[in-house]
């Protein structure tokens, strides 16, 4: 029985990281994903901030799921999310003003990030706290991985650096387009293409092996 619940928890956790990845599968939260991912550091900071807000709000929503009347639930979620966003906003401002300026308005805009509201509405309001947190943590980490995949590529091509460390020496030719908004679309499109190709290949493989068993 315990094994079963552990397996289920693990499944909840992995859902956000791979099967329902917010960036690459659900294509949610595109506004921060395209706007702030010009460098790996920005992407990670944005991802962690979102994860923090996601986990905390999902916990609170899950705890209050039987107290909140159905009619005002969205307003309640927004108030909860906004509270934690304010917390994150002040924390980042206190820790690193540089990062705070780089992320700009996108920290405050976590309030309207559709991943958080979507998780609160679709998952946390229907599940007990532990399951809700596990799922939220998986989603948050999945989102961070997605942002990092975008930010890493864009930083390497757009500035020749990775986490601020120069990779190719001083003579590197930056690809200007990569730090501009179109670069975000190009990189996101390339990743989506890669995952679609992998998925198709896996399905073809599964179908082929299924046929093999049948015969």
């Amino acid at each position: 029985m315990k094994d079963l619940s552990q397996a289920k928890n693990f499944d909840e956790f992995m859902e956000g990281i791979w099967r329902q990845n917010p960036v690459f599968v659900m294509v949610l939260g595109m506004c921060p994903a395209l706007a702030v991912t010009v460098s790996a550091v920005n992407a990670l900071a944005m991802g962690f901030a979102t994860t923090f807000v996601l986990v905390c709000s999902c916990l609170l929503v899950s705890l209050m799921r039987k107290l909140v009347p159905k009619e005002v639930r969205i307003a309640t979620y927004i108030v909860i999310i906004a509270t934690f966003v304010t917390v994150v906003d002040y924390i980042i401002q206190a820790l690193s003003l540089e990062l705070y300026e780089a992320l700009g308005a996108f920290i405050q805009l976590i309030v309207v990030n559709c991943i958080i509201l979507g998780r609160a509405e679709a998952h946390a309001s229907k599940h007990p706290p532990l399951t809700a947190i596990t799922n939220a943590l998986g989603m948050g980490i999945g989102f961070t991985i997605g942002l990092f995949a975008l930010g890493g590529v864009r930083e390497i091509l757009g500035a020749g650096k990775f986490f601020g460390v120069s990779l190719f020496g001083a003579n590197f030719q930056p690809w200007v387009v990569m730090v501009l908004p179109p670069g975000g679309f190009f990189v996101l499109g390339a990743w989506l293409l890669l995952f679609a190709a992998l998925k198709r290949r896996k399905e073809a493989h599964l179908a082929a092996s299924g046929d093999g068993h049948g015969a």
Binding site: G160, F168, G169, N171, F172, Q173, W175, V176, V177, M178, L180, P182
Partner: protein, 382 residues
């Protein structure tokens, strides 16, 4: 192999034309232009065209192999893309950037849409637009043509290591001791320095060390060959050059001498190459004759507007890409009227037709009229 009998409805047109044949002829007509380009800029130009074309062919092969893309290397379409892209890039463009341009042209401009015939935008221009956005400094760096040692040494910026910035050509040029050369294309000179180049010099590209592409006169000649053999529709280049010339002339006539004369507008930059070879791409231009005029007119006006009022000196590329995007719309509003369906020969309410040979072609309209008469004679309700 047994002969297949194919049953088809009319019209029974037997055309010897195939896509491959048309494409091959376009490539052949581009060879003199390439030769002139190499004559102007030497080794670097030859290497640039070869690398870009090789990148296009490799990418095409890759995507055909991966599946999901129509066409094949043997249809010459990737070769055209590569050669045209090579001709639009500066001769000293770093070769690795040329490779990136060729890859993007085929991957982003063609393969993603499904291969030959499915592309929405001209692939060569998609590749060029990408490197224009990615490497704005390198793509604006021109070197003068007809340098003395051009057949024995590369332009130093060509041979940059992959991912590395190209060498500075200014110092290299200073060592050449050229007199009266200012390191900008004629369009950039006009836009940023206010000096005009003679239109006749531009037409031949032969006068001195000008930083220009292949001679517009030669491109027009090759285009005329294609148009005469019906491998290309003459309406599109005619419409583009006509509307660009007319717009430039109007602005020149109204705005006075601070604007360049229309001939400078026509023969400078890539307008002729764009009009003859890029805009006439069959997959991305309208098929209706009236649509071709609208499409060409749009490109001409946009080009002049971007050149005059935009931030960049050259606007042909963006004008053609915008017109490519508008092509489906243009085709929709310029559908030709089928014979007998036009508004001009719709039967009037009380029209009466005598039995006359002219009338026979109006059979359908007359049928409508008689129906109306039938209704007219119906007894009215009280």
């Amino acid at each position: 192999m047994s002969a297949l009998t194919e049953i088809r409805s009319a019209p029974h047109i037997k055309s010897p034309r195939s896509v491959e044949q048309i494409m091959r002829n376009v490539v052949f007509s581009l060879l003199p232009v390439c030769a002139f380009f190499v004559y102007q800029y030497g080794l670097s130009a030859a290497a640039s065209i070869l690398v870009v074309t090789a990148a296009c062919l490799l990418t095409e092969r890759l995507f055909v192999r991966l599946g999901g893309q129509a066409g094949d290397l043997s249809d010459y379409s990737a070769t055209i893309t590569g050669v045209l892209l090579g001709l639009t890039l500066p001769p000293g463009f770093p070769l690795w950037m040329g490779f990136v341009a060729g890859f993007t042209a085929i991957a982003l401009g063609k393969a993603l849409f499904g291969g030959i015939g499915f592309n929405v935008f001209n692939p060569a221009l998609v590749g060029r637009a990408f490197v224009q956005a990615a490497f704005p400094a390198a793509i604006a760096t021109y070197t003068p043509s007809f340098l003395p040692g051009r057949f024995t040494e590369f332009i130093p910026s060509s041979l940059a290591w992959p991912l590395m910035a190209p060498a500075d050509t200014a110092a290299w040029l200073k060592g050449m001791q050229l007199d009266a050369w200012t390191g900008a294309t004629p369009l950039a000179k006009w836009k940023f320095e206010g000096t005009l180049t003679d239109a006749g010099d531009l037409l031949t590209s032969l006068a001195g060390h000008m930083a220009v592409g292949p001679s517009p006169a030669l491109i027009l000649l090759c285009g005329a060959y294609l148009a005469l053999r019906r491998f290309m529709d003459w309406r599109i280049p005619a419409a583009i050059l006509g509307s660009a010339g007319l717009t430039a002339w109007l602005i020149y006539a109204i705005g006075g001498p601070k604007y360049p004369d229309p001939f400078f507008m026509l023969f400078s930059g890539g307008l002729i190459l764009g009009a003859v070879y890029m805009a006439t791409d069959m997959a991305t231009s309208p098929v209706t004759p009236r649509g071709m005029w609208v499409y060409g007119g749009l490109i001409g006006v946009l080009t002049v507007m971007i050149r005059y009022y935009g931030g960049l000196p050259e606007g042909v590329m963006y004008a053609i890409l915008i017109a490519n995007a508008a092509t489906p719309l243009i085709e929709q509003i310029t559908q030709p009227t089928p014979f007998g369906k036009g508004a001009s020969i719709r039967a009037g309410r009380s029209a009466s037709y005598t039995l006359h040979p002219d009338y026979i072609s109006r059979e359908e309209a007359a049928a409508k009229t008689s129906k109306k008469r039938f209704f007219k004679n119906k007894p009215k309700k009280p």
